[in-house]
Symmetry: C2
Amino acid sequence: MQENKQRIAIDMDDVMADASGRFVEWIAERHGVTIGREELCTELLNKAGIPYEKIREWLWEEGFFRHMQPLPDSKEVMKELVKKYEVFIVSAAIEFPQSLREKVEWLAEHFPFIDWRYIVLCGHKYIIQADYLIDDHEKNLISFTGKPIVFTAPHNIHLKGFERVNNWAEIGNKFL
Amino acid sequence: MQENKQRIAIDMDDVMADASGRFVEWIAERHGVTIGREELCTELLNKAGIPYEKIREWLWEEGFFRHMQPLPDSKEVMKELVKKYEVFIVSAAIEFPQSLREKVEWLAEHFPFIDWRYIVLCGHKYIIQADYLIDDHEKNLISFTGKPIVFTAPHNIHLKGFERVNNWAEIGNKFL
């Protein structure tokens, strides 16, 4: 335990890794349709003839998680964050068993300075003991016992009641 | 959150799954040497001509975790435990990326009544918020913020200072 440091739990998909961008990429490749990430909602996808249930199946496909892009500035800010805070990466990935190894390998590739001991792959995140949680999903933020911070993603722009960061530069401004 | 229930975190290897038995099995198969599980220590293994560093490599081999046997009475007691408590399975498995999927599949096979949301694959366990932790390793027990309980395994028989359970029948007696 790093007694003298505050602990920050940080989500992966749509916080560190560009999961929305990955959907946009596969929709273009597989359906030949170019959409913006703000159009990634059930209603607009259905309108474009791409059923949400169909693209959700990609979450169980080999390689979907492995080749996401890190979000802008995430590497640079994270590198400083781990010096000042005890950072844990916390991803609710158990639902997708093929993703588990991919996520550990993705972190080793893009964030090699994060030791494996600080990675948590789980389901319910309310079991995590930390001072802060940066996450894009209301269900994780609402049950967190520390201070929750919402990271802006297409599906949470209307979410109220949480402190918000829009990008990694803002995480840097707040914590560094 | 199951507000009205106490929360128990339970380790996998050498608590739910017979990891020691798996080593004994592979030593017999690969080295043609029959040893008891109480002989699974560096000194005795070296004496038997089986270097510890060599067999530790098995932890990174496909299939090592997937085909362990559940420990006696674990299924029956666990089935009752999840009714009365909020049980999380917590395994420090991130070090072995190939084991992650195997562990989720192993739990689905032997403990199908445990929902994926209650599985945690991690490194440091001190991030886990629970009332109890049942584990075989001192490093996990000593930093736990709830009540630690040591589960007897060959490598912890001399460990003092923790409440101890020797088997799943004793877990049942204590908690049910």
